[in-house]
Protein backbone atom coordinates (compact mmCIF):
# COMPACT_ATOMS: atom_id res chain seq x y z
CA UNK A 1 0.00 0.00 0.00
CA UNK A 2 1.72 3.16 -1.15
CA UNK A 3 0.33 6.22 0.50
CA UNK A 4 1.18 9.81 1.25
CA UNK A 5 3.41 9.93 4.32
CA UNK A 6 2.92 12.77 6.79
CA UNK A 7 6.03 14.18 8.39
CA UNK A 8 5.30 12.99 11.91
CA UNK A 9 4.59 9.40 10.80
CA UNK A 10 7.83 9.04 8.85
CA UNK A 11 9.64 6.93 11.49
CA UNK A 12 6.69 4.56 11.49
CA UNK A 13 6.57 4.43 7.70
CA UNK A 14 10.27 3.57 7.63
CA UNK A 15 9.83 0.76 10.11
CA UNK A 16 6.81 -0.55 8.21
CA UNK A 17 8.88 -0.54 5.05
CA UNK A 18 11.61 -2.48 6.77
CA UNK A 19 9.05 -5.06 7.83
CA UNK A 20 7.78 -5.42 4.29
CA UNK A 21 11.37 -5.87 3.04
CA UNK A 22 12.13 -8.43 5.70
CA UNK A 23 9.03 -10.43 4.83
CA UNK A 24 9.93 -10.34 1.15
CA UNK A 25 13.46 -11.43 1.88
CA UNK A 26 12.25 -14.26 4.08
CA UNK A 27 9.89 -15.45 1.40
CA UNK A 28 12.44 -15.22 -1.39
CA UNK A 29 15.39 -16.77 0.38
CA UNK A 30 13.57 -19.11 2.77
CA UNK A 31 15.58 -17.78 5.67
CA UNK A 32 13.01 -18.77 8.33
CA UNK A 33 13.04 -15.33 9.93
CA UNK A 34 9.72 -15.89 11.71
CA UNK A 35 11.02 -14.79 15.06
CA UNK A 36 12.64 -11.62 13.75
CA UNK A 37 9.50 -10.78 11.79
CA UNK A 38 7.29 -11.22 14.82
CA UNK A 39 9.59 -9.00 16.84
CA UNK A 40 9.55 -6.27 14.21
CA UNK A 41 5.78 -6.55 13.88
CA UNK A 42 5.38 -5.97 17.59
CA UNK A 43 7.73 -3.00 17.35
CA UNK A 44 5.69 -1.53 14.47
CA UNK A 45 2.48 -2.01 16.40
CA UNK A 46 3.89 -0.27 19.43
CA UNK A 47 5.27 2.61 17.42
CA UNK A 48 1.93 2.98 15.62
CA UNK A 49 0.18 3.55 18.93
CA UNK A 50 2.88 5.94 20.12
CA UNK A 51 2.80 7.99 16.92
CA UNK A 52 -0.95 8.19 16.48
CA UNK A 53 -2.40 8.48 19.92
CA UNK A 54 -2.72 11.97 21.35
CA UNK A 55 -1.83 13.82 18.16
CA UNK A 56 -0.74 17.41 18.59
CA UNK A 57 -2.94 20.10 17.01
CA UNK A 58 -0.42 20.55 14.20
CA UNK A 59 -0.34 16.81 13.54
CA UNK A 60 -4.13 16.82 13.35
CA UNK A 61 -3.95 19.63 10.78
CA UNK A 62 -1.73 17.38 8.67
CA UNK A 63 -4.18 14.50 9.01
CA UNK A 64 -7.05 16.85 8.09
CA UNK A 65 -5.13 17.80 4.94
CA UNK A 66 -4.05 14.27 4.02
CA UNK A 67 -4.60 13.91 0.26
CA UNK A 68 -6.23 10.50 0.71
CA UNK A 69 -8.63 11.70 3.39
CA UNK A 70 -12.27 11.05 2.46
CA UNK A 71 -13.85 14.10 0.84
CA UNK A 72 -17.38 15.43 0.47
CA UNK A 73 -17.98 13.45 -2.71
CA UNK A 74 -16.88 10.27 -0.91
CA UNK A 75 -19.38 10.90 1.88
CA UNK A 76 -22.10 11.62 -0.67
CA UNK A 77 -21.27 8.41 -2.54
CA UNK A 78 -21.15 6.32 0.62
CA UNK A 79 -23.99 7.82 2.67
CA UNK A 80 -26.46 9.14 0.13
CA UNK A 81 -28.79 7.48 -2.31
CA UNK A 82 -30.93 8.93 -5.10
CA UNK A 83 -28.64 11.93 -5.45
CA UNK A 84 -29.64 14.73 -7.79
CA UNK A 85 -26.93 17.37 -8.09
CA UNK A 86 -27.88 21.04 -8.46
CA UNK A 87 -25.65 23.33 -10.48
CA UNK A 88 -25.08 27.07 -10.62
CA UNK A 89 -25.99 30.19 -8.69
CA UNK A 90 -28.35 31.61 -11.36
CA UNK A 91 -26.25 34.76 -11.31
CA UNK A 92 -22.81 34.06 -12.68
CA UNK A 93 -21.73 30.44 -12.99
CA UNK A 94 -21.27 27.01 -11.49
CA UNK A 95 -18.46 26.71 -8.97
CA UNK A 96 -17.23 23.14 -8.70
CA UNK A 97 -15.60 23.89 -5.36
CA UNK A 98 -19.07 23.52 -3.86
CA UNK A 99 -21.35 20.50 -4.16
CA UNK A 100 -25.08 20.98 -3.76
CA UNK A 101 -27.73 18.37 -4.31
CA UNK A 102 -30.88 16.58 -3.27
CA UNK A 103 -29.95 13.36 -1.52
CA UNK A 104 -31.33 10.71 0.80
CA UNK A 105 -29.37 10.03 4.00
CA UNK A 106 -30.40 7.29 6.41
CA UNK A 107 -33.80 7.13 4.80
CA UNK A 108 -34.42 10.87 5.02
CA UNK A 109 -34.75 13.13 2.01
CA UNK A 110 -32.37 16.05 2.52
CA UNK A 111 -30.52 18.89 0.87
CA UNK A 112 -26.77 18.32 0.96
CA UNK A 113 -24.09 20.99 0.53
CA UNK A 114 -20.33 20.55 0.84
CA UNK A 115 -16.95 21.94 -0.07
CA UNK A 116 -15.57 19.71 -2.77
CA UNK A 117 -11.82 19.22 -2.98
CA UNK A 118 -10.40 17.19 -5.84
CA UNK A 119 -8.86 13.73 -5.51
CA UNK A 120 -5.97 14.56 -7.81
CA UNK A 121 -4.28 17.61 -9.34
CA UNK A 122 -6.53 17.73 -12.37
CA UNK A 123 -9.69 17.62 -10.25
CA UNK A 124 -8.23 20.07 -7.79
CA UNK A 125 -7.57 22.63 -10.49
CA UNK A 126 -11.17 22.35 -11.69
CA UNK A 127 -12.48 22.52 -8.15
CA UNK A 128 -9.99 25.12 -6.98
CA UNK A 129 -8.84 22.86 -4.12
CA UNK A 130 -12.25 23.24 -2.51
CA UNK A 131 -11.94 27.00 -2.07
CA UNK A 132 -15.18 28.58 -3.23
CA UNK A 133 -15.70 31.78 -5.20
CA UNK A 134 -18.77 33.91 -4.47
CA UNK A 135 -20.78 31.97 -7.07
CA UNK A 136 -20.13 28.73 -5.17
CA UNK A 137 -21.34 30.25 -1.92
CA UNK A 138 -24.36 31.67 -3.74
CA UNK A 139 -25.13 28.24 -5.18
CA UNK A 140 -25.03 26.96 -1.60
CA UNK A 141 -27.39 29.72 -0.52
CA UNK A 142 -29.78 28.86 -3.31
CA UNK A 143 -29.77 25.27 -2.08
CA UNK A 144 -30.41 26.44 1.51
CA UNK A 145 -33.42 28.48 0.44
CA UNK A 146 -34.74 25.60 -1.65
CA UNK A 147 -34.37 23.30 1.36
CA UNK A 148 -36.40 25.77 3.42
CA UNK A 149 -39.04 26.15 0.74
CA UNK A 150 -39.66 22.42 0.50
CA UNK A 151 -39.06 21.44 4.10
CA UNK A 152 -35.91 19.41 3.47
CA UNK A 153 -33.40 19.18 6.34
CA UNK A 154 -29.98 20.55 5.40
CA UNK A 155 -26.78 18.56 5.85
CA UNK A 156 -23.45 20.24 5.13
CA UNK A 157 -19.92 18.85 4.81
CA UNK A 158 -17.21 21.34 5.72
CA UNK A 159 -13.77 20.90 4.16
CA UNK A 160 -11.98 23.96 2.84
CA UNK A 161 -8.83 25.96 3.41
CA UNK A 162 -11.03 29.01 3.04
CA UNK A 163 -12.88 31.17 0.55
CA UNK A 164 -10.76 31.83 -2.55
CA UNK A 165 -8.43 34.82 -2.02
CA UNK A 166 -8.45 36.20 -5.57
CA UNK A 167 -9.07 39.32 -7.60
CA UNK A 168 -12.26 38.16 -9.29
CA UNK A 169 -13.64 36.77 -6.05
CA UNK A 170 -13.29 40.28 -4.61
CA UNK A 171 -14.89 41.89 -7.66
CA UNK A 172 -17.89 39.63 -7.29
CA UNK A 173 -18.26 40.27 -3.57
CA UNK A 174 -16.68 37.40 -1.62
CA UNK A 175 -17.47 39.12 1.68
CA UNK A 176 -21.04 39.79 0.60
CA UNK A 177 -21.59 36.17 -0.42
CA UNK A 178 -20.31 34.86 2.92
CA UNK A 179 -22.37 37.33 4.95
CA UNK A 180 -25.56 36.50 3.07
CA UNK A 181 -25.03 32.80 3.74
CA UNK A 182 -24.48 33.46 7.44
CA UNK A 183 -27.69 35.46 7.68
CA UNK A 184 -29.61 32.82 5.72
CA UNK A 185 -28.26 29.85 7.68
CA UNK A 186 -28.93 31.56 11.00
CA UNK A 187 -32.63 31.93 10.25
CA UNK A 188 -33.28 28.94 7.96
CA UNK A 189 -36.56 27.26 8.86
CA UNK A 190 -35.37 23.65 8.52
CA UNK A 191 -33.04 21.57 10.68
CA UNK A 192 -29.36 22.15 9.82
CA UNK A 193 -26.63 19.62 10.59
CA UNK A 194 -23.03 20.61 9.78
CA UNK A 195 -20.21 18.05 9.70
CA UNK A 196 -16.56 19.09 9.86
CA UNK A 197 -14.81 16.38 7.87
CA UNK A 198 -11.41 17.96 7.26
CA UNK A 199 -10.38 21.59 7.07
CA UNK A 200 -12.50 24.40 8.47
CA UNK A 201 -10.85 27.50 7.07
CA UNK A 202 -12.45 30.67 8.50
CA UNK A 203 -15.21 32.51 6.63
CA UNK A 204 -15.33 30.18 3.64
CA UNK A 205 -15.99 27.28 6.00
CA UNK A 206 -18.43 29.16 8.23
CA UNK A 207 -20.53 30.14 5.19
CA UNK A 208 -21.91 26.59 5.17
CA UNK A 209 -20.49 25.48 8.49
CA UNK A 210 -22.89 25.96 11.41
CA UNK A 211 -26.45 25.07 12.29
CA UNK A 212 -28.42 23.21 14.94
CA UNK A 213 -25.67 20.61 15.33
CA UNK A 214 -21.97 20.73 14.55
CA UNK A 215 -20.41 17.28 14.32
CA UNK A 216 -16.61 17.20 14.10
CA UNK A 217 -14.44 14.34 12.97
CA UNK A 218 -11.74 13.65 15.54
CA UNK A 219 -8.96 15.12 13.38
CA UNK A 220 -10.93 17.81 11.60
CA UNK A 221 -10.04 21.38 12.51
CA UNK A 222 -11.96 24.64 12.41
CA UNK A 223 -10.17 27.95 12.77
CA UNK A 224 -10.54 31.70 12.47
CA UNK A 225 -7.28 31.83 10.52
CA UNK A 226 -4.92 29.19 9.14
CA UNK A 227 -2.06 28.41 11.54
CA UNK A 228 0.41 29.42 8.80
CA UNK A 229 -1.22 32.82 8.24
CA UNK A 230 -1.37 33.36 11.99
CA UNK A 231 2.34 32.56 12.25
CA UNK A 232 3.13 34.93 9.37
CA UNK A 233 1.31 37.75 11.13
CA UNK A 234 2.79 37.13 14.57
CA UNK A 235 6.30 36.00 13.70
CA UNK A 236 6.68 36.89 10.01
CA UNK A 237 7.45 33.18 9.70
CA UNK A 238 4.82 30.69 8.55
CA UNK A 239 6.99 27.74 9.59
CA UNK A 240 6.00 28.46 13.17
CA UNK A 241 2.52 27.13 12.41
CA UNK A 242 2.94 24.20 14.84
CA UNK A 243 3.01 26.74 17.68
CA UNK A 244 0.11 28.87 16.48
CA UNK A 245 -2.08 25.83 15.75
CA UNK A 246 -1.96 25.11 19.48
CA UNK A 247 -2.63 28.75 20.45
CA UNK A 248 -5.67 29.02 18.19
CA UNK A 249 -7.52 26.10 19.87
CA UNK A 250 -8.89 24.74 16.66
CA UNK A 251 -9.23 20.98 17.23
CA UNK A 252 -12.50 19.08 17.63
CA UNK A 253 -11.87 18.80 21.38
CA UNK A 254 -11.32 22.55 21.64
CA UNK A 255 -14.54 23.27 19.77
CA UNK A 256 -16.60 21.07 22.05
CA UNK A 257 -15.00 22.69 25.08
CA UNK A 258 -15.80 26.16 23.68
CA UNK A 259 -19.44 25.14 23.19
CA UNK A 260 -19.26 25.49 19.42
CA UNK A 261 -19.29 21.81 18.38
CA UNK A 262 -21.64 19.18 19.81
CA UNK A 263 -20.10 15.86 19.04
CA UNK A 264 -16.87 14.20 17.95
CA UNK A 265 -16.79 11.23 15.59
CA UNK A 266 -13.72 9.10 16.42
CA UNK A 267 -11.36 8.20 13.60
CA UNK A 268 -9.33 5.01 13.16
CA UNK A 269 -5.77 5.18 14.49
CA UNK A 270 -3.79 7.26 11.99
CA UNK A 271 -6.75 9.06 10.45
CA UNK A 272 -9.98 8.62 8.50
CA UNK A 273 -8.12 7.52 5.36
CA UNK A 274 -6.92 4.36 7.17
CA UNK A 275 -10.44 2.93 7.25
CA UNK A 276 -12.87 5.15 5.37
CA UNK A 277 -15.73 2.63 5.52
CA UNK A 278 -15.71 2.67 9.32
CA UNK A 279 -15.75 6.47 9.30
CA UNK A 280 -18.64 6.62 6.82
CA UNK A 281 -20.70 4.34 9.06
CA UNK A 282 -20.01 6.44 12.16
CA UNK A 283 -20.74 9.72 10.37
CA UNK A 284 -23.96 8.32 8.92
CA UNK A 285 -25.19 7.27 12.32
CA UNK A 286 -24.23 10.63 13.86
CA UNK A 287 -26.14 12.49 11.14
CA UNK A 288 -29.10 10.11 11.41
CA UNK A 289 -29.42 10.56 15.16
CA UNK A 290 -29.05 14.36 14.89
CA UNK A 291 -31.79 14.45 12.25
CA UNK A 292 -33.99 12.15 14.33
CA UNK A 293 -33.79 14.61 17.22
CA UNK A 294 -34.15 17.77 15.15
CA UNK A 295 -36.78 16.74 12.63
CA UNK A 296 -39.40 16.17 15.31
CA UNK A 297 -39.07 19.73 16.64
CA UNK A 298 -41.41 22.61 15.96
CA UNK A 299 -39.66 24.90 13.44
CA UNK A 300 -40.18 28.22 15.21
CA UNK A 301 -38.68 26.81 18.38
CA UNK A 302 -35.82 25.22 16.47
CA UNK A 303 -34.83 28.49 14.79
CA UNK A 304 -35.18 30.40 18.07
CA UNK A 305 -32.95 27.87 19.82
CA UNK A 306 -30.34 28.22 17.07
CA UNK A 307 -30.45 32.01 17.41
CA UNK A 308 -30.15 31.94 21.18
CA UNK A 309 -27.23 29.55 20.99
CA UNK A 310 -25.40 31.70 18.42
CA UNK A 311 -26.11 34.81 20.47
CA UNK A 312 -24.61 33.26 23.57
CA UNK A 313 -21.24 32.47 21.96
CA UNK A 314 -18.52 34.72 23.32
CA UNK A 315 -16.61 35.43 26.49
CA UNK A 316 -16.56 39.01 27.81
CA UNK A 317 -17.11 41.13 30.88
CA UNK A 318 -19.79 43.75 31.43
CA UNK A 319 -17.19 45.94 33.12
CA UNK A 320 -17.47 47.86 36.35
Amino acid sequence: MSRFVMEFERPLAELEEKLVDLKALDLAAELHLGEEIAELEAEVEQLRVTVYQALSPWERVQVARHPERPKTQDYVAALCSEVFELHGDRLYGDDEAIFAGLATIAGRRCMVIGHRKGKNTKENIRRNFGSPHPEGLRKARRAMLMAEKFGLPLVTFVDTQGAHPGLEAEERGQGWAIAENLATLAALRVPVVAVGIGEGGSGGALAIGFGDRLIMLENAYYSVISPEACASILYKDSSRAPETSACLQMTADDLVRLGIADEIVPEPLGGAHRDAAAVFARVESAIASALDTLCGQELGGLVEKRFVRLSSIGVFTEGE
Partner: protein, 307 residues
Protein backbone atom coordinates in the same frame (compact mmCIF):
# COMPACT_ATOMS: atom_id res chain seq x y z
CA UNK B 1 -9.25 60.28 29.84
CA UNK B 2 -12.38 58.18 30.51
CA UNK B 3 -14.74 58.18 27.58
CA UNK B 4 -17.49 60.01 29.49
CA UNK B 5 -15.15 62.97 30.06
CA UNK B 6 -14.07 62.75 26.49
CA UNK B 7 -17.64 63.13 25.34
CA UNK B 8 -18.18 66.03 27.74
CA UNK B 9 -15.16 67.81 26.35
CA UNK B 10 -16.36 67.31 22.81
CA UNK B 11 -20.02 68.20 23.34
CA UNK B 12 -21.02 71.34 21.55
CA UNK B 13 -18.06 71.28 19.20
CA UNK B 14 -19.16 72.30 15.74
CA UNK B 15 -17.47 70.40 13.00
CA UNK B 16 -16.79 72.31 9.84
CA UNK B 17 -14.59 71.44 6.94
CA UNK B 18 -12.04 74.21 7.12
CA UNK B 19 -10.51 75.69 4.01
CA UNK B 20 -6.84 75.28 3.32
CA UNK B 21 -5.70 78.77 4.24
CA UNK B 22 -7.11 78.90 7.78
CA UNK B 23 -3.83 77.82 9.29
CA UNK B 24 -3.07 81.05 11.15
CA UNK B 25 -4.03 80.24 14.73
CA UNK B 26 -3.16 76.58 15.01
CA UNK B 27 -3.46 74.94 18.41
CA UNK B 28 -0.53 73.00 19.76
CA UNK B 29 -0.33 69.71 17.97
CA UNK B 30 1.82 67.25 16.22
CA UNK B 31 2.89 67.72 12.65
CA UNK B 32 2.00 65.01 10.21
CA UNK B 33 2.34 64.53 6.50
CA UNK B 34 -0.72 63.83 4.37
CA UNK B 35 -0.01 60.47 2.68
CA UNK B 36 -1.97 61.58 -0.35
CA UNK B 37 -0.85 65.15 -1.17
CA UNK B 38 2.29 65.22 1.04
CA UNK B 39 1.33 68.55 2.61
CA UNK B 40 2.48 68.94 6.19
CA UNK B 41 -0.48 69.32 8.51
CA UNK B 42 -1.13 70.05 12.17
CA UNK B 43 -2.89 67.15 13.80
CA UNK B 44 -4.75 69.72 15.89
CA UNK B 45 -6.06 71.41 12.78
CA UNK B 46 -7.48 68.12 11.53
CA UNK B 47 -9.78 68.03 14.55
CA UNK B 48 -11.68 70.93 13.02
CA UNK B 49 -11.99 69.25 9.64
CA UNK B 50 -13.34 65.83 10.67
CA UNK B 51 -9.82 64.46 10.10
CA UNK B 52 -10.00 65.35 6.42
CA UNK B 53 -6.97 66.89 4.70
CA UNK B 54 -7.90 70.46 3.81
CA UNK B 55 -5.66 70.35 0.74
CA UNK B 56 -6.70 67.15 -1.00
CA UNK B 57 -9.68 65.82 1.06
CA UNK B 58 -7.75 62.68 2.05
CA UNK B 59 -9.76 61.02 4.83
CA UNK B 60 -7.61 60.16 7.85
CA UNK B 61 -8.72 57.49 10.35
CA UNK B 62 -11.32 58.77 12.76
CA UNK B 63 -11.70 57.61 16.36
CA UNK B 64 -15.00 56.04 17.38
CA UNK B 65 -15.93 58.88 19.77
CA UNK B 66 -15.16 61.47 17.08
CA UNK B 67 -17.22 59.47 14.63
CA UNK B 68 -20.37 59.17 16.71
CA UNK B 69 -20.22 62.86 17.60
CA UNK B 70 -19.79 63.79 13.94
CA UNK B 71 -22.93 61.84 13.01
CA UNK B 72 -25.28 62.45 15.95
CA UNK B 73 -27.36 65.60 16.24
CA UNK B 74 -25.60 67.88 18.67
CA UNK B 75 -25.73 66.77 22.27
CA UNK B 76 -27.91 63.71 21.62
CA UNK B 77 -25.46 60.81 21.82
CA UNK B 78 -25.97 58.65 24.88
CA UNK B 79 -23.56 55.73 25.18
CA UNK B 80 -24.75 52.17 25.90
CA UNK B 81 -22.81 49.12 27.11
CA UNK B 82 -19.79 51.32 27.83
CA UNK B 83 -18.09 48.88 30.18
CA UNK B 84 -18.43 45.77 28.03
CA UNK B 85 -14.99 44.49 27.16
CA UNK B 86 -13.01 41.44 26.13
CA UNK B 87 -11.46 38.79 28.31
CA UNK B 88 -8.74 36.42 27.24
CA UNK B 89 -10.62 33.11 27.07
CA UNK B 90 -7.90 31.20 25.18
CA UNK B 91 -5.07 32.70 27.26
CA UNK B 92 -3.61 33.46 23.88
CA UNK B 93 0.07 34.04 24.21
CA UNK B 94 2.24 34.02 21.13
CA UNK B 95 4.94 36.66 20.94
CA UNK B 96 2.89 39.30 22.76
CA UNK B 97 0.11 38.11 25.03
CA UNK B 98 -3.45 39.07 24.18
CA UNK B 99 -3.95 40.32 27.72
CA UNK B 100 -1.10 42.79 27.16
CA UNK B 101 -2.51 43.91 23.80
CA UNK B 102 -5.90 44.51 25.40
CA UNK B 103 -4.42 46.50 28.26
CA UNK B 104 -2.38 48.73 25.99
CA UNK B 105 -5.29 49.26 23.58
CA UNK B 106 -7.47 50.36 26.49
CA UNK B 107 -4.84 52.72 27.73
CA UNK B 108 -4.11 54.18 24.32
CA UNK B 109 -7.75 54.80 23.37
CA UNK B 110 -9.54 55.30 26.68
CA UNK B 111 -12.11 52.84 25.33
CA UNK B 112 -13.16 49.50 26.82
CA UNK B 113 -13.47 47.90 23.39
CA UNK B 114 -13.08 48.55 19.68
CA UNK B 115 -16.66 49.69 19.17
CA UNK B 116 -18.70 52.48 20.74
CA UNK B 117 -22.51 52.23 20.65
CA UNK B 118 -25.40 54.32 21.87
CA UNK B 119 -28.70 56.04 21.28
CA UNK B 120 -28.82 59.32 19.39
CA UNK B 121 -30.83 61.48 17.09
CA UNK B 122 -29.66 61.86 13.52
CA UNK B 123 -31.40 64.48 11.43
CA UNK B 124 -34.15 64.33 14.03
CA UNK B 125 -34.57 60.55 13.66
CA UNK B 126 -34.10 58.38 16.75
CA UNK B 127 -31.29 55.97 15.93
CA UNK B 128 -28.92 53.48 17.48
CA UNK B 129 -25.47 54.61 16.45
CA UNK B 130 -22.21 52.69 16.58
CA UNK B 131 -18.66 53.25 15.42
CA UNK B 132 -15.58 51.07 15.40
CA UNK B 133 -12.16 52.33 16.41
CA UNK B 134 -9.21 51.09 14.38
CA UNK B 135 -6.72 52.11 17.07
CA UNK B 136 -8.09 49.35 19.31
CA UNK B 137 -6.30 46.18 18.04
CA UNK B 138 -7.19 47.12 14.47
CA UNK B 139 -10.88 47.23 15.42
CA UNK B 140 -10.84 43.47 15.14
CA UNK B 141 -14.01 41.64 16.14
CA UNK B 142 -13.76 39.40 19.17
CA UNK B 143 -16.45 38.36 21.63
CA UNK B 144 -16.98 41.82 23.08
CA UNK B 145 -17.22 43.63 19.74
CA UNK B 146 -19.58 40.92 18.49
CA UNK B 147 -21.70 41.20 21.62
CA UNK B 148 -21.90 45.01 21.47
CA UNK B 149 -22.83 44.90 17.79
CA UNK B 150 -25.47 42.20 18.45
CA UNK B 151 -26.89 44.27 21.33
CA UNK B 152 -27.01 47.34 19.09
CA UNK B 153 -29.12 45.34 16.62
CA UNK B 154 -31.36 44.14 19.45
CA UNK B 155 -31.76 47.66 20.85
CA UNK B 156 -32.62 49.04 17.42
CA UNK B 157 -35.27 46.36 17.06
CA UNK B 158 -36.67 46.74 20.58
CA UNK B 159 -36.98 50.52 20.31
CA UNK B 160 -37.75 50.64 16.60
CA UNK B 161 -34.79 52.94 15.94
CA UNK B 162 -32.84 52.85 12.70
CA UNK B 163 -29.37 51.40 13.16
CA UNK B 164 -26.36 53.31 11.85
CA UNK B 165 -22.95 51.60 12.05
CA UNK B 166 -19.66 53.16 10.99
CA UNK B 167 -17.32 50.27 10.32
CA UNK B 168 -13.55 49.90 10.19
CA UNK B 169 -11.77 46.66 10.95
CA UNK B 170 -8.85 44.45 10.11
CA UNK B 171 -11.13 41.41 10.50
CA UNK B 172 -11.78 38.79 13.13
CA UNK B 173 -9.69 38.96 16.31
CA UNK B 174 -7.50 35.89 15.95
CA UNK B 175 -6.49 35.96 19.61
CA UNK B 176 -9.98 34.70 20.44
CA UNK B 177 -9.85 31.87 17.91
CA UNK B 178 -13.14 30.25 16.97
CA UNK B 179 -15.02 32.44 19.45
CA UNK B 180 -14.22 35.38 17.20
CA UNK B 181 -15.08 33.54 13.97
CA UNK B 182 -18.48 32.73 15.45
CA UNK B 183 -19.12 36.45 16.02
CA UNK B 184 -19.54 36.66 12.25
CA UNK B 185 -22.48 34.27 12.45
CA UNK B 186 -23.80 35.91 15.61
CA UNK B 187 -23.84 39.46 14.21
CA UNK B 188 -25.22 38.26 10.86
CA UNK B 189 -28.02 36.47 12.69
CA UNK B 190 -28.81 39.72 14.52
CA UNK B 191 -28.77 41.67 11.24
CA UNK B 192 -31.17 39.18 9.68
CA UNK B 193 -33.59 39.58 12.62
CA UNK B 194 -33.55 43.36 12.33
CA UNK B 195 -34.13 43.13 8.60
CA UNK B 196 -37.12 40.82 9.07
CA UNK B 197 -38.51 43.26 11.63
CA UNK B 198 -38.44 45.97 8.95
CA UNK B 199 -36.18 48.31 10.90
CA UNK B 200 -33.76 50.28 8.68
CA UNK B 201 -30.04 49.65 8.88
CA UNK B 202 -27.39 51.79 7.21
CA UNK B 203 -23.68 50.96 7.32
CA UNK B 204 -20.78 53.26 6.55
CA UNK B 205 -17.66 51.42 5.44
CA UNK B 206 -14.50 53.35 6.26
CA UNK B 207 -10.81 52.75 5.73
CA UNK B 208 -9.92 49.93 6.18
CA UNK B 209 -12.67 47.28 6.36
CA UNK B 210 -11.44 43.72 5.80
CA UNK B 211 -11.72 40.03 6.52
CA UNK B 212 -14.33 38.44 8.67
CA UNK B 213 -15.90 41.77 9.51
CA UNK B 214 -16.53 42.62 5.85
CA UNK B 215 -18.03 39.14 5.49
CA UNK B 216 -20.66 39.68 8.15
CA UNK B 217 -22.96 42.44 9.49
CA UNK B 218 -21.61 45.51 7.59
CA UNK B 219 -22.60 44.27 4.15
CA UNK B 220 -26.06 43.13 5.26
CA UNK B 221 -27.30 46.73 5.59
CA UNK B 222 -30.24 48.10 3.60
CA UNK B 223 -28.07 50.96 2.40
CA UNK B 224 -24.26 50.68 2.33
CA UNK B 225 -22.23 53.88 2.16
CA UNK B 226 -18.46 54.22 2.06
CA UNK B 227 -16.00 57.05 2.49
CA UNK B 228 -13.93 58.18 -0.53
CA UNK B 229 -10.83 56.08 -1.09
CA UNK B 230 -11.62 53.66 1.74
CA UNK B 231 -10.13 50.22 1.17
CA UNK B 232 -12.73 47.49 1.61
CA UNK B 233 -12.53 43.79 0.88
CA UNK B 234 -12.51 40.25 2.18
CA UNK B 235 -8.92 39.22 1.45
CA UNK B 236 -6.15 41.77 1.90
CA UNK B 237 -4.31 42.93 -1.25
CA UNK B 238 -0.96 41.45 -0.18
CA UNK B 239 -2.41 37.95 0.15
CA UNK B 240 -4.20 38.27 -3.19
CA UNK B 241 -0.98 39.35 -4.90
CA UNK B 242 0.79 36.31 -3.46
CA UNK B 243 -2.00 34.06 -4.72
CA UNK B 244 -2.27 35.39 -8.26
CA UNK B 245 1.41 36.35 -8.52
CA UNK B 246 0.76 39.68 -10.20
CA UNK B 247 0.21 43.19 -8.97
CA UNK B 248 -3.32 44.45 -8.54
CA UNK B 249 -4.92 47.14 -10.70
CA UNK B 250 -4.88 50.71 -9.42
CA UNK B 251 -7.91 51.51 -7.32
CA UNK B 252 -8.59 47.85 -6.49
CA UNK B 253 -10.83 47.43 -3.43
CA UNK B 254 -11.46 51.16 -3.06
CA UNK B 255 -14.93 52.44 -2.24
CA UNK B 256 -15.16 53.70 -5.83
CA UNK B 257 -14.25 50.24 -7.17
CA UNK B 258 -17.02 48.71 -5.06
CA UNK B 259 -19.64 51.11 -6.41
CA UNK B 260 -18.58 50.16 -9.93
CA UNK B 261 -18.95 46.49 -9.10
CA UNK B 262 -22.38 46.95 -7.59
CA UNK B 263 -21.41 46.13 -4.03
CA UNK B 264 -22.24 49.40 -2.26
CA UNK B 265 -24.77 52.17 -2.81
CA UNK B 266 -22.75 55.37 -2.70
CA UNK B 267 -19.43 56.96 -1.87
CA UNK B 268 -20.05 59.89 0.46
CA UNK B 269 -17.48 62.38 1.74
CA UNK B 270 -17.18 62.47 5.51
CA UNK B 271 -18.54 66.00 5.76
CA UNK B 272 -21.71 64.95 3.91
CA UNK B 273 -22.42 61.70 5.75
CA UNK B 274 -24.83 63.02 8.34
CA UNK B 275 -26.87 64.87 5.73
CA UNK B 276 -26.97 61.87 3.37
CA UNK B 277 -28.01 59.46 6.10
CA UNK B 278 -30.71 61.84 7.31
CA UNK B 279 -32.07 62.05 3.76
CA UNK B 280 -32.22 58.26 3.44
CA UNK B 281 -33.84 57.92 6.87
CA UNK B 282 -36.53 60.38 5.78
CA UNK B 283 -37.59 57.64 3.37
CA UNK B 284 -36.94 54.55 5.46
CA UNK B 285 -38.38 55.89 8.72
CA UNK B 286 -41.70 57.30 7.58
CA UNK B 287 -43.07 56.52 11.02
CA UNK B 288 -40.77 59.09 12.62
CA UNK B 289 -42.23 61.94 10.63
CA UNK B 290 -45.52 63.59 11.58
CA UNK B 291 -48.19 63.08 8.90
CA UNK B 292 -48.26 66.73 7.97
CA UNK B 293 -44.58 66.65 7.13
CA UNK B 294 -44.88 63.75 4.70
CA UNK B 295 -45.17 66.30 1.94
CA UNK B 296 -44.80 64.77 -1.48
CA UNK B 297 -44.48 61.17 -0.27
CA UNK B 298 -46.91 58.79 -1.99
CA UNK B 299 -49.98 57.94 0.07
CA UNK B 300 -49.88 54.22 0.76
CA UNK B 301 -53.11 52.54 -0.24
CA UNK B 302 -54.55 50.25 2.35
CA UNK B 303 -57.04 47.50 1.68
CA UNK B 304 -60.45 48.89 0.78
CA UNK B 305 -58.75 52.19 0.31
CA UNK B 306 -61.22 53.74 -2.14
CA UNK B 307 -63.52 55.07 0.54
Amino acid sequence: MPISDWFKAREGRRYTVASADKSADLPDGVWLKCPSCKHTLYQGALENTLQVCPHCTHHFDMSAPDRVLSLADEGTFEETEAGLSSLDPLRFSAKKSYAQSLASAKEKTGLAEAVVTGRALLGGHPVVLGAMDFRFIGASMGSAVGEKIARAFALAQAEDRALILAVASGGARMQEGMLSLMQMAKTSAAAERLSRAGVPYISILTNPTYGGVTASFPVLADVILAEPGALIGFTGPRVIEQTIRQSLPKGFQTAEFLVQHGMIDEVVARGDLRESIARVLDYLCLGDVPDAALGAACPILTEGGDE
